[in-house]
């Protein structure tokens, strides 16, 4: 990930340990440490509202990272991410409701459901590309959501399934702070899994497939296998995110997993910046906080109460505008802006990077 970051003097490795290390320079280590400390201290200072915001960002990050793996790196577009989240949430909900299964059973079960669904979502990708693949995932999203709705009506939970507070070894997982740390742990684990997958064989295979399938096949990469693998891993992670969402809200309902949610996840990776894990995190942060930002701005305006009823419509419209602005004017996303700022300072007083491969 950090290989592409511009370094004024270049960064030269002198041993395999340096090659394997996750952080390359002291600055990276220090800033990472500061960031971790900030994350650990945050819940003790923040009000419940801000705690909830952070938890939502973590949840969104898990989903966005998994979608980034699939779309940003393996190049397989999915418009059905909400379907996978729904599958995970419903697996957790149904197991805990029907069988009173504990959380340490339901979350792995959600991952397995996600993986199986990943194979189903991924099978069309062996034959279809681009637009048609996106359409097939869109269709599958509707099928999954229909099945969830069918379960709700047939079992008489027409408004949704409520989930009891999960208990692990007599310890009740209840309260904002505990869930903040649980979600933080899952988000961090997801990030670590993604980083490591991407710098290993599978990550290289995915990038090759994204760049050019035929060439990837000619290089000896099993294109079908790695495409399915990307779908399976991404879907499993997404389903876990869905299950966590169900526990966090202690409530599951198909209404939460509309097509709009899928679009929001796609928006996260576009706004964040395609092909970058940092982008997925930034996108998750941006898209999660955006509606609250709009709300805060609207309530600042005079006669705020009259806007309260139309808040969601304003949100929709503003969200559409932001997405269009990014697609048209900043296809690299927030990461692109960040990189430009970085290279501005690194290259200063010059304006342009030296052309790659130019003679000195």
């Amino acid at each position: 990930m950090s290989d592409r970051m511009p370094r004024a003097s270049g960064y030269f490795r002198t041993g395999y340990a340096q090659e394997m290390a996750l952080t390359k320079t002291r600055l990276e280590r220090v800033s990472l440490g500061a960031f971790v400390i900030a994350l650990l201290v945050y819940p003790h200072l923040a009000s419940p509202f801000y705690l909830d915001l952070a938890s939502q960002v973590f949840l969104a990050s898990i989903g966005a990272l998994s979608l980034m793996l699939l779309t940003g790196y393996a190049g397989q577009v999915s418009l059905g991410h909400a379907g996978l989240l729904a599958a995970g949430a419903f697996t957790a909900g149904i197991l805990s409701k029907e069988l009173a299964a504990p959380i340490y059973v339901t979350i792995p079960a959600a991952a397995v459901t996600g993986a199986v669904l990943g194979v189903i979502f991924g099978l069309p990708s062996l034959r279809l590309r681009g637009l048609y693949l996106a359409v097939s995932t869109l269709a599958l999203h509707f099928v999954v959501v229909y099945l969830g709705g069918e379960y709700e009506t047939k079992r008489g939970f027409s408004t949704g399934i409520t989930i009891d507070t999960p208990v692990i070894f007599g310890f009740r997982l209840y309260g904002g702070k505990i869930w903040y740390f649980i979600l933080l742990a899952f988000a961090a684990a997801t990030l670590l899994i993604c980083v490591n997958l991407l710098r290993s064989r599978s990550g290289r295979a995915w990038r090759a497939i994204q760049a050019h399938e035929t060439v990837a096949e000619a290089l000896g990469i099993s294109v079908a296998g790695y495409k399915l693998l990307a779908f399976v891993i991404s879907s499993a992670i997404a389903a876990v995110a869905g299950a966590l969402f169900a526990y966090y809200r202690s409530f599951v309902s198909v209404e939460a997993f509309s097509l709009f949610l899928s679009i929001q996840y796609v928006a996260m990776i576009i706004i964040g910046g395609m092909g970058s894990l940092l982008g997925a995190l930034l996108g998750a942060l941006f898209v999660t906080l955006f509606p609250y930002l709009i709300e805060a701005v609207l309530l600042k305006l005079p006669d705020a109460q009259s806007y309260a009823g139309v808040l969601f419509a304003v949100n929709y419209a503003a969200f559409g505008v932001v997405m269009i602005l990014f697609l048209v004017f900043e296809p690299q996303g927030l990461v692109g802006i960040w990189r430009r700022i970085q290279s501005y300072f690194l290259l200063w007083p010059f304006k342009h990077k030296p052309v790659a491969g130019a003679r000195k």
Binding site: V77, P124, R127, L128, R129, G130, L131, Y132, A134, V135, S136, L138, A139, L140, F142, V143, Y146, G149, E150, T153, H212, E213, T214, L259, F260, I263, V266, A267, I270, V310, F312, A313, V314, N315, Y316, A317, A318, F319, G320, V321, M323, I324, L327, V328, P331
Partner: protein
């Protein structure tokens, strides 16, 4: 008999909407996922003109139709033109974003409540008894006729009209078309305009028939499988696809489960994608361009 009538009406709705998807895809290879919203916008435009020209329904309808054509052209000129030459997928996602934007704006302007442009125009909607025991509402009958008329007009236009031939040429090979002096931007803008126009006509007639809420988007989205099942670049295909989707939907509601109505079109779509991704009448295209 009533079942057949239902299938035909639903098929005409889907066909009228689906030809909008086909027009844009055929000419510019962009899938317009905002079509449902544009169609709903057409219906709301009719509501707006109905309120301002309440004494004069013909003028209201004409103005609404003209406005919807303008909206389609403007969408291309101000938004989609910037996306030509970008990745196809980026263009598709732009239409998705446009759809979200439109949906928000429409709720802001016209609220989410059920509205009846038919009443505002002073139209009544009596049911007509058909020979054989079926019944059809007046506007549903008009919709069926309108679909037939639209398709006939589009066939004539694309086969014999100067601009129709230009549109086909641009769809077949944009580079060669541009070198022959065809103004690609004008052709694309026209495609967007016509697509929005046909979609809006569908939206208006549905609104006149059964009222207008912001759930109309779902109908637009369900018409999309019809376009794809028939083949995204074939108008005949859109007709056939609409008939298949409508039949599958009506029959499964009748005999299996009413809840299936929202998912059946997509099940048919998945089945089609597995068997024949390019659709019944579509050209088999190389999806991966090097």
């Amino acid at each position: 008999m009533q079942l057949t009538v239902n299938i035909v009406v639903l098929a005409s709705i889907y066909a009228l909407i689906a030809c909008g998807y086909v027009l844009i895809y055929r000419v510019s290879r962009v899938l317009n996922l905002a079509h449902g919203e544009l169609m709903m916008l057409g219906a709301y435009l009719l509501l707006a003109t109905a309120n301002s020209f309440s004494g004069n329904p013909a003028v209201a309808i004409a103005v609404a139709v003209a406005l919807s054509l303008t909206v389609g052209v403007m969408v291309y000129v101000f938004l989609m033109r910037k996306m030509t030459g970008e990745m196809v997928l980026a263009a598709v996602l732009t239409t998705v974003a446009l759809g979200i934007l439109l949906r928000g704006v429409m709720v802001l302007i016209w609220s989410a409540q059920q509205q009846y442009p038919g009443q505002a125009l002073g139209f009544s909607n009596p049911a007509i008894a058909l020979p054989g025991g079926g019944r059809i509402s007046t506007f549903a009958a008009i919709l069926v006729l309108m679909t037939a008329l639209t398709y006939a007009a589009l066939f004539v236009f694309l086969r014999f009209g100067t601009w129709g031939v230009r549109m086909r040429a641009a769809g077949q090979n944009p580079l060669l078309a541009a070198q022959r002096g065809i103004n690609l931007h004008a052709v694309y803008a026209l495609a967007w305009g016509l697509s929005t126009l046909t979609g809006s006509i569908a939206g208006m007639l549905i609104a006149l028939d059964s009222g207008l809420t912001n759930t109309m988007v779902i109908i637009g989205l369900k018409a999309f499988p019809a376009a794809l099942v028939g083949g995204l670049d074939s108008l005949v295909g859109a007709l056939a696809g609409a008939l298949i989707i409508a039949a599958a939907e009506v029959l499964s509601i009748q005999y299996i489960d009413p809840l299936l109505s929202d998912v059946v079109p997509f099940l048919v779509l998945i089945a089609m994608l597995v068997v024949r991704p390019w659709g019944l009448f579509g050209t088999r295209e190389e999806l991966d361009r090097v």
